[in-house]
């Protein structure tokens, strides 16, 4: 089950449509990182609304995506973690440490807008200082 990756302006949006195997998750990670490099986008949104379970492999892959994207200059935000899924994830002792999470796609876009604006705003200041 391949995860479609759409480009919207400066952002890449990966919408998970169903439960994913470990191989599917690894493919998603590789595809996103390749596209971040190629398209020089500023942000990545991974929509996990349709994910049935967030186990240790899924959490680790999402963390890897966020960290690798950051190294290539893009912010990542995870959207749509369902309450039941979040509960089981916490019980497993898993956290998305260092990875932004918001409720839905709209908030995800707003988050990335504020993030990318913030960097643009601070850049000239840093240059002067």
């Amino acid at each position: 089950m391949e995860v479609p990756i759409l480009r919207q302006g400066q952002y890449l949006i990966a919408s998970i449509q169903s439960a994913l195997t470990d191989a599917d998750l690894s493919h998603l990670r590789e595809a996103l990182i390749a596209q971040v490099g190629r398209s020089r986008c500023r942000g990545v949104i991974v929509d996990v609304t349709a994910l049935d379970v967030m186990d240790s492999f899924a959490v680790r892959t999402l963390r890897d995506i966020a960290h690798m994207a950051r190294l290539r200059g893009a912010e990542t935000v995870i959207v749509g973690i369902q309450p039941d899924v979040a509960f089981a994830m916490v019980q497993l002792g898993l956290t998305l440490k260092g990875v932004a999470t918001v409720l839905d796609l709209e908030e995800g876009l707003a988050f990335l807008d504020s993030r990318t604006k913030a960097t643009l705003d601070t850049k000239p200041k840093r240059g002067r200082g």
Binding site: A19, L20, T21, D22, A23, D52, V53, M54, D55, S56, F57, V59, R60, Q82, P83, D84, V85, F87, A88, M89, Q91, L92, G93, L94
Partner: protein
Amino acid sequence: MGEELRLPIAADVDVVEARQQGRALAAVAGFSSGEQTVIAAAISEIARNILMYAKKGEIILGLVQNGDRQGVSVVAIDQGPGIPDIDRAMQYGYSTSHGVGAGLPGAKRLMDEFEVDSVVGRGTTITMKKWRRSI
């Protein structure tokens, strides 16, 4: 005890299948959707361990009853390398594969009963159960 569902685990699609079947069985047993997800997450971790450490094995799902309490049981069996130090393997963060080390301790926390039976060179059997909270 009622019927059993035996699911072979030999590829990553089997892990997804096992957790989805577990969720369906939990729904039949009357578990809430939150509890179904909890059971599915525990199955996902244990099934992945079979694949990762033993290459193949089996997950057996069943309904269990204790008095008027209903529950589901999950038995994971493999003939893999076994676990030399079970106490250590049950510690959060311990992993021989650079993994997160959350699978065994996490699954134990998610379920009500959790038992590991493992003999080095012979294999591993993990038995876990979750009971419906009486209303």
